[in-house]
Amino acid sequence: MSDTTNLLLSVTSKEALAKRKAREFREGIIQILLAIAAVSSVLVTIGIMEVLVGESWKFFTNPELKEVGIDNIFADFFNLVNPQWTVLFEEKHFGILTLLSSTLLTSFIALVVAIPIGTTVAIFLSEFAIPSVREALKPILELLAGVPSVVFGYFALNVISPLIRSFNQDIPGFNRLSAGIVIGIAIIPIISSIAEDAMRAVPNQMREGSYALGATRLNTAINVVLPAAFSGIVAAYILGVSRAVGETMIVAVAGGLQAIYSWNPLEGAATISAFIVQVSLGDIEFGSLEYESIFAAGLTLAIITLALNLVGFFLIKKYKETY
C-alpha cells in the first residue's frame, strides 16, 4: 500500500516533471535527426537535377558552339535525319540519336531475351512451384542479380561475342547483339521478381473459381492470373527496360565505344551511358564542350528512365489498389 502512495507522490513531484521534460526534449531531438535523414534523400534528387540541368544549360548556351561551326545546337542535337555524334573529333556534331540508336537497340535485344524467360520463370514460381520449391529456386535469380555488371561485360566480350562470331567470322568482336543479350540476362531477375509479386497478389478465389470450372494450372495462369496481374507484369517490363537503358558497364566493355548511327545489331555500340564512360576515361577539361556534352547526354538518359519509372510505379500502384 505504501508503495502505491510513494508512486503517486513521485509522479507529481518536481523531479518526475523534470524527467518528463527531459524525455520530451530527447524525443524531439531524435525526431529532428531522423527527419534530417529522410529529407537528405530529397537533397540527392535536387543535387542530381542541379548538376544535370545546370551543366546541360551551359552546354546548350555555350558560345564555343559557334566556333566549331554549329549555329543551331538544338537542330544538331535533335537531328533525326542524319545524326552524328563526333564530340571527341575535330569537327563536332552532337546528334543524340546516334547514341540513342545504340541504347534503344541493345535494350530491345535485352527485352527479347528477358521477357520470355522472365515471364516464364515468374509464372512457374508463382503458379506451379510449391512454396518449398520456390524458396529453393529463387536464390538462383538473386545470385544472378548479384553479379557485378562489369563482370557481365567480361562475359559478353569473352563468352557471348565469340559464340556469335563462331557462326560468322565477319561479325566484329564488339557488337550490340552480345551486349544486348547479356543485358537481357542481367535484367531477368528484375522482370521475374516484379512479375511474380504481381501474380501472387491476385487473390486465390479467382484461381479457385477457375479450377472449379475444370481449368488446369496452365489454363488458370494464362486466362485468369495473367490478365488479372496485367498492370503489374507490364510494370515489370517497363522497369526492366528502364534498367536496360541505363546499363553502363556491359556496353562499355562489350560495345567497343563506337558512336555509329545505325540500327544494325551487329555493329559496334556506344550507348549514352557508355559514351559518358568513354569521355570520362580521357583527360577532359572542366567546363569544355566535351565535359558539358556528357551532361546533356546524361539529362536525356535521366528523362527517359524517369518517364519509364513513373509509368512503372503508377502501374504497380494500380494493381496494389485493385487487390
Binding site: 545470385l143 489454363n219 522497369l239
Partner: protein, 332 residues
C-alpha cells in the same frame, strides 16, 4: 466450322481433352524449369569461364602465385600485376559508404514508417512532405548508376572540390545505395505487428524507447539483409566511379592513419586516406578487360573478376541465408 457438334457425352473425347491439357501443363513445367536452368546455366558458365581463364593467373603457380596476385601492385607485366591496391581501395570506399549510408538509410526508413504521417508527433511533420519523400525515394531507386557518376563528377569532384578521392567515391556509392537501404528498412519495420507497438506504449514507453528497444531488435534481420544487399551492390559498381577518374594507375595504397609519410617529414593525419587517390575492384576488372592483350583482357581480368564475384556473391548468399534464418525464427 462443321455443323456437327462434337458429342460431349462421349467420354473418350473428354478424356482426350483432359489428357492433352494435362500434357500442356507438364510441358509448361518443363519450360519453366528450363528457363530457371538457363539462368542457373548462365551463372555456372560465367563462373566456369572466370575460373578457367582467371585460374591461369590465380592457381597457375600454386599458392605462391595466388598470394602474389592478391598482394602485388598493378604492373605492365601481366604475370606480376596484382590487385592489392584495388582490394584495399574497395575496402576503404565501402567502409566510408557504410559509415554514411547505414545511419542515413536506417534513420530515414524509421522516420518514414514510425513518424511520417502520424498525428501524434512531438513536432508536427506535414503530410505533403512525407509524400514527396516517398515518391522521391522510389524514383531515386530507378536512377541509373551512371547518373550518380555525373552527380559525383559535377558536384563532388568539381563544385565541392573533393577531387578524385576515396571521399568522393564513398559519398557517391552511399547515395547510390541509400534507396535500397531505406526501402528494405521500411519493409522490415512494416512486418512488425501493430500489437507490439501498442503493448509497449501501454507500459509507458516513449516513441523512441519503443523503436529502439522493440521495433529495431524485431526487424534487425530484415534491415541487416538490406544492408548487405546494398553494400554488395556498392562493391560491384564501376560506372559511377569511372566518371570521377578512378581509372588511374596507382601503385601505393591510401595512407594508414598515423603512418610515417613517404615524402617529407612527420606522420599522416587520421583522415588522410579519405583524400587520397584510389582504385577499386570493379574498376581494376574494367581497366584490364579493356586492354588489347589477352593476358590482361582475358586472364588477369578473369582472375580479378573471380575475386570480385566471390566478394559480391558471398555477401548475397549471406543475405539470402539471413533472410531465411530470421523468417524461420520470427513467427508473428
Amino acid at each position: 466450322m462443321t455443323n456437327e457438334m462434337p458429342d460431349l457425352v462421349d467420354i473418350q473425347v473428354i478424356r482426350r481433352g483432359i489428357k492433352s491439357r494435362k500434357r500442356m501443363d507438364n510441358i509448361f513445367i518443363g519450360v519453366g524449369l528450363g528457363s530457371l536452368a538457363f539462368s542457373l546455366g548462365v551463372l555456372l558458365v560465367l563462373i566456369g569461364k572466370l575460373l578457367v581463364e582467371g585460374g591461369k593467373r590465380l592457381f597457375g603457380q600454386g599458392i605462391a602465385g595466388l598470394w602474389n596476385f592478391l598482394t602485388s601492385v598493378p604492373d605492365s607485366n601481366p604475370e606480376v600485376a596484382g590487385i592489392k591496391i584495388a582490394i584495399i581501395g574497395s575496402f576503404c570506399v565501402i567502409l566510408l559508404t557504410a559509415i554514411i549510408a547505414v545511419p542515413l538509410g536506417i534513420g530515414a526508413g524509421i522516420f518514414l514508417e514510425e513518424y511520417a504521417g502520424r498525428g501524434d508527433l512531438p513536432i508536427p511533420f506535414p503530410k505533403w512532405m512525407s509524400n514527396i519523400i516517398e515518391i522521391n525515394i522510389s524514383n531515386l531507386a530507378g536512377v541509373p548508376s551512371i547518373i550518380y557518376g555525373l552527380l559525383a563528377m559535377g558536384l563532388f569532384k568539381y563544385q565541392l572540390r573533393l577531387g578524385e578521392t576515396i571521399a568522393t567515391a564513398g559519398l557517391t556509392l552511399a547515395l547510390l545505395i541509400l534507396p535500397i537501404i531505406i526501402v528494405t528498412t521500411r519493409e522490415a519495420i512494416k512486418a512488425v505487428p501493430q500489437a507490439l507497438r501498442e503493448g509497449v506504449y501501454a507500459i509507458g514507453a516513449s516513441r523512441w524507447q519503443m523503436i529502439w528497444d522493440h521495433i529495431l531488435p524485431a526487424s534487425a534481420g530484415g534491415i541487416l539483409t538490406g544492408l548487405i544487399v546494398g553494400l554488395s551492390r556498392a562493391i560491384g559498381e564501376a560506372a559511377p566511379l569511372v566518371t570521377i577518374g578512378a581509372l588511374t594507375f596507382i601503385t601505393f595504397p591510401p595512407p594508414f592513419p598515423f603512418s610515417p609519410k613517404l615524402v617529407g617529414e612527420g606522420l599522416h593525419g587520421p583522415f588522410d586516406w579519405l583524400f587520397s587517390p584510389f582504385t577499386v575492384m570493379p574498376i581494376q576488372v574494367f581497366d584490364w578487360v579493356s586492354r588489347p592483350r589477352p593476358e590482361f583482357s582475358v586472364v588477369n581480368a578473369g582472375a580479378a573478376a573471380v575475386v570480385l564475384v566471390v566478394m559480391t556473391l558471398s555477401m548475397n548468399a549471406l543475405a539470402i541465408y539471413l533472410r531465411i534464418y530470421f523468417r524461420k525464427r520470427v513467427k508473428w
